[in-house]
Symmetry: C2
Subunit: 165 residues, 2 copies
């Protein structure tokens, strides 16, 4: 990143900026570009083949894996790494497709349950093979077992820092 800038601005404020060296820049760019391209590719292929964008897919997956195929809106948002507002919008659209339905929550009058419908489950069943095949083709097929292990290790290390939940 920013080689031009880094060579020109030693930056006085609260201590020197800890600029990235050439190695770090390469690592950072490789990571940034590969994640970007992989996510774009998977989302595009899934959307083209099934009409379901990855954000919606993730919601359906989370619901499908929960007992009763239902979940409180907030918890669903957390699991999808989504804001409440975004999830609310997304569930509205999934409701229009008939894949999810909102239900009042018995234990908490403020809350709502998002419930996966049979149609929603069927849509997920149809989309899952496409998605999994994409992940395999563009990720696992490209990496050695050692690389996969390292990827998981790095991911979990970062998660402990970023999402200590």
């Amino acid at each position: 990143m920013t080689t031009d800038v880094s060579s020109r601005t030693p930056r006085p404020e609260h201590g020197e900026t800890r600029w990235l060296d050439a190695e770090e820049q390469r690592a950072w760019r490789a990571w940034l570009y590969s994640t970007q391209l992989l996510q774009d590719r998977l989302d595009r292929e899934l959307t083209r083949a099934t009409g379901i964008p990855h954000t919606y897919y993730e919601i359906l997956v989370q619901l499908s894996e929960t007992p009763g195929r239902q979940m409180r809106m907030s918890e669903l948002a957390d699991r999808c790494l989504s804001s409440r507002s975004r999830l609310s919008h997304a569930v509205s659209r999934l409701e229009e497709r008939g894949w999810v339905r909102r239900q009042e929550c018995p234990e908490d009058g403020r809350g709502l349950l998002a419930v996966l419908t049979d149609e929603g489950f069927a849509a997920l069943e149809a989309a899952a093979p496409v998605h999994v095949e994409g992940v395999r083709t563009h990720l696992f097929d490209q990496l050695s077992p050692q690389q996969v292990a390292a990827m998981r290790d790095i991911g979990e290390t970062l998660l402990r820092h970023l999402d200590p939940s």
Copy 2:
């Protein structure tokens, strides 16, 4: 992903789907969530501190690193992993801020050059330390040198497959 579904749909069409086993699912989710959280975090911190979202930042960086601080729109789009349309919109907004300006291209009457202005360069200089500090804090400070090397290796491996340019 999709444990529920994978146990129920052996899927006949063009051969069996190559489902992910438990290890692969953990690796995939760790990767997916960590990349998502890291990008969200970096973008949020940069935007809050400087008013520059990461997509704009990337455009400014690319221009700053090029001789003459100018580049053809298409090439800029490619380097930013952006569609032409998206870049066109983005450059329009950067123009409103006075950070970039469009200039006719001498060699090709169809083409335009995006030129980084002095104000744009100054904005980048102000934002760069914030961004770099974020990358260091949330990424490099969390990982061992071996993990950094592995991250780069994995990223470059995936790039060869996804973007064989």
